[in-house]
Symmetry: C2
Subunit: 233 residues, 2 copies
DNA sequence: GCAAAAGTGTTTCCTTTACACCCATGG
DNA sequence: CCATGGGTGTAAAGGAAACACTTTTGC
């Protein structure tokens, strides 16, 4: 039989938004073994016996950070021969295939675990260095997916607290999509008109200025918009 | 080491549009071996040594049909344990993982090969039977992707001839997306305004009625719209 | 009172949608 | 000449973009 034998790896592109600093972050680990020792790379692992792909992605995520809420979805599968230097040169030995996952986690609650010597840290997406393997490519793909998802899926609410102000929401959007999209005032009216944000009437004051209303995302009211194109811009 | 060992399969969701009959078709094969013998399934194969995933997808496609033009892209990777009955019950033997690809081919030129006893035939997408493995799920996913792609990518031109009428184009769109989208007149003006369809001034007459202009897709003029959201609706 | 942040409203412009209508050809 | 399909134009409605203005708080 001339079928290829594979080990399957899972690589996670884990994003988070630091609203205070207005920065989009991605989690990287410094490799402690070959190949690419001492280079930054996406947190990844090889799939174990009896473990599903997604369970594997969850496991590596749980090893690096402790989170209460996250959004996780499969990205892409990279699997040509020669993509991993551990393969034998003629690729007639074991092949390494990578299924990448894309995650979005709450920054405030994401505690970095086992962070001895800063081997696992957040990096500003626009300033990531050269990564091991083909991870720069995977990251670029994930970044693109993140921006698309944000526009037509309610993933922002996955990383916002239960109650949030409209400015909190705006910060998430403008941090990820960049400054060149709708201004705050138009963003407000569009979202409120859609009707899936519930004003709880509770007010919160943050320093000077008028106190803001706290809103809640109503998943049921959002249902009609599922799969519909471009809810926000 | 408790890492899982994988064989990697590739399953193709191959779509085609029969404009005459106004039907969207998907290519299915009748399985001639176990598991799921005599059931319909997506054409698939296992990846060979030294073969990339995409090359594997191309190979199975070339075995079933001969085409001159096609669009091919990766869909999704299904890889939980227990998805393939060939796996040992406790999944501690070899695992089977499926990377699915999605293709769109020209109907007129797609000659079905090795079609002894109609083991490989086109099926109307809305009427596919129960398939082997998790292939109904993969097909549903591919169908969704096809509709999305059509709205913001120029994949329709991949399966149209070099020169086509605006009605030919409209037929592709309405066949795939269903009847409930823009009428022909508005479809015309929107696309022409975008400026990447070149009127060759050549006319073609098909029975009664005014002869139609033949148009050409200008890839360079389309470039600015790449990745931009919703060019058509 | 004044700066700062939240929230509302208005004006302009552009796109979408639903049609009506004209044009060129075969039979 | 009329049915058939190709092609153009337009009026009404709706949404996006820019920005001015009001409200409510801290200091």
């Amino acid at each position: 039989m001339n079928l290829a034998d594979f080990k399957v790896g899972v690589d996670n592109v884990i994003f988070s938004v630091d609203s205070q600093e207005h920065r989009l972050l991605v989690l990287l680990v410094k490799r402690e073994e070959n190949p690419f020792i001492n280079q930054w790379s996406l947190p990844g692992t090889l799939v174990r016996k009896g473990e599903s792909l997604e369970a594997s992605a969850q496991r590596i995520l749980a090893e690096k950070i402790r989170v209460n809420n996250l959004y996780l979805e499969q990205l892409y599968t990279f699997g040509g021969p020669h993509r991993d230097p551990r393969e034998s040169p003629d690729s007639f030995g074991v092949r390494y295939l990578s299924v990448s996952y894309f995650a979005l986690v709450r920054f405030e609650e994401a505690q970095l675990l086992s962070n001895n010597n800063h081997k696992t840290t957040w990096h500003i997406v626009q300033e990531v260095p050269q990564l091991g393997f083909d991870h720069n490519e995977i990251l670029a793909y994930g970044y693109q997916r993140l921006r698309n998802k944000l526009e037509y899926s309610p993933i922002a609410f996955e990383i916002l607290p239960e109650l949030f102000t409209l400015n909190d929401l705006y910060q998430v959007y403008s941090t990820i999509l960049g400054e060149n999209f709708a201004d705050y005032s138009n963003f407000r009216s569009r979202l409120l008109k859609l009707g899936f944000l519930i004003d709880t009437e509770k007010k919160v004051s943050r320093g000077a200025g008028r106190p803001a209303s706290l809103y809640r995302f109503d998943a049921e009211a959002f249902a009609p918009f599922k799969d519909k194109p471009f809810v926000f811009v």
